[in-house]
Amino acid sequence: MNILGKRKIWYTISLVILIIGLLFISFKGMNFGLDFRGGTLLEFKFDQEVSNEEVRTLLADTGLIEGAKVQQTAEEGINGVLIRTKELSPEQITEIQDILSQAYPSTEVLRTDMVGPLIGQELRVKALLALLFASIAIIIYISIRFEFRFAVVAILTLLHDVFITLGVFAVIGREINTAFVAALLTIIGYSINDTIVIFDRIRENMKYYQRKMSFVELANKAVIDTLPRSINTSITTLITILAVYFFGGASIKTFMLALFVGMFAGTYSSIFIASPLLVTWQDKISVK
């Protein structure tokens, strides 16, 4: 099996997916949720079914849900309504609660979430900072344990995985929240983890086969030798993620979906992008 010989094919596949994703990100934009933009989310549970229109009519006079989204709750087996609206004060939230409780005595508050606009902005800055510092720390660690070029390629690979995940979320228009940021950082950890297992084998092969094999050959051997591990690990991880996605609660679904996309991309990129990039780098040095 000559995986690295066909590297132009893998580069093309990734580039096409990345470009589609980037086009969606720049023209359609990401669907930033409450955590980033600020606003209020209210979720109520009732004994009987209550329609979105009934809720809208009840609350129309308060002026608190102008331009708000009213939906049925995503939690299975529960009669509930989800309201997304602008930033509200505790007084205003209580007002909405009181009106609903009067109309439906069984009203129970599942959750209320209020995020001021400043907090959302801070979260964005913090998330970017965390990403930046994690990247720097990882570059330093890999440069020490491996070589500088391994570090650069590892970072390129993880950016690949992060942007594919962002792209998929832009295409499907799924809302981005704090859990999504946590998922992205997990993907970074996983992507690096996956890439390093193969790099570790390349490093080892460089020691044993430096004289007998060209760099492409020994890198290809490393990818093939670690293939069973790559496949088994991604199957077991993806099984767990899918199990939680389908059987876990509604609030954890975005997180799991991001993990699934990111880890899928991570497995693909550690095999088809990371090691090929190292070979391309090596070729550039040899030509000089």
Binding site: E43, K45, E75, I78, P90, I93, T94, Q97, E108, V109, L110, R111, T112, D113, M114, V115, G116, L118, I119, A127, L129, A130, F133, A134, I138, Y141, I142, T178, A179, V181, A182, A183, T186, G189, Y190, I192, N193, D194, I196, D200, D225, T226, P228, R229, N232, T233, T236, T237, I239, T240, I241, A243, V244, F247, G248, G249, S251, I252, F255, M256
Partner: protein, 405 residues
Amino acid sequence: MRYKQKRILKLVFIVAIILFSYFLYHFYGINLGLDLEGGSHIVLQAEPTEQREISDEVMKVISNIIERRVNQMGLAEALIQREGRDRVIVGLPAVDNPNEAIKTIGRTAVLTFRNAQGDVLMTGDAIKSAKAGYGGAFREPVVNFELTPDGSKKFEAITRQYLGQHIAIYLDDEELMNPVVNEVIRGSGSISGNYKSVEEAQNDAVLITEGALPVPVKVVQSRIVGPTLGKISIQKSITAGLFGLLLVGIYMLIYYRFPGLLAAVILAIYGLILLGTLAGLGATLTLPGIAGLILSIGMAVDANIIIFERIKDERRSGKTLKASIDAGFKRAYTTIIDANVTTIITALILAYFTSGTVRGFAVTLGIGVIVSMFTAFFVTRNVIDLFADTKLLNSGAAFGLKGRK
């Protein structure tokens, strides 16, 4: 003989760790975050006024007053924490009406007595204590208050001056009542503010007694989860996690045969040690935290897969089982360390830069990865050694090897 004794000692050590972990888990239990147990997380931000800047001193006063207010409302296990330069975080356990509580906690709450022109005649400082009770012609909920000696003199003078006129009582800018002074008041009095319940009156009483905040605070974030949603989340997550683990176990068994079964048992041991560690450290488990746990389980499985694949490689090159196990572990060590250290770095940075539920995720992930390294290096090694002499590991099918005896 020496080798055998050493091995028995190590196994005893592993059993001791398992028992200790169970003990920690059983007696300390795992703290559940607000998204699993219900509760509130409120971020209050102090806002400077023309008279007052935000200083360390001001923030200390604010968090003290908030703490007293929370205690007075009878909210046990509340958590009050300063964050950054001008913020206070309040964590409340599940209460019936959290938004009502938040209103009380965050109010500036200056009580003033004003005349018809709106001039302030006296402030709440003059009041020694306030309590909710019933009063008036209809036995309605009221706030009864007692005046300080100075306040008593002051109020006596005021009521004398305004006898037969209106004196309004304000809490912040809200007029509680506007009664006519019927008699000269000294010592104590009562305020009836059209309260719907004694609890409402009690909340105002708390504000009046515990004093005004030096500057206004604004609720910049509030996250409230009702107990029902928490219960749904934790039940579903546990079911999903167990189901995922079961599937992983089955997969490992089919692929690696007997060693796969060992891996599944080791995974269960890993789970127990992890729960014990989390309980012992007093970590708080949140919903993303459970996700972090599941991810670290994935990494624990990965460590076992790396080790098994290495042993398989060594077997293929023609070594005996014992030599393969030795060499396989040795070579797997560096891989596992390099791969996991980067994850730990990410978890540490995440824990440092974020707060709330995401930090919970980072902490559980970090602890999970560290425990998984221990399990891979120590538990897996010794459990595999235990069966090294048996046919179960020596057979061709073990580790998924084909066509080898």
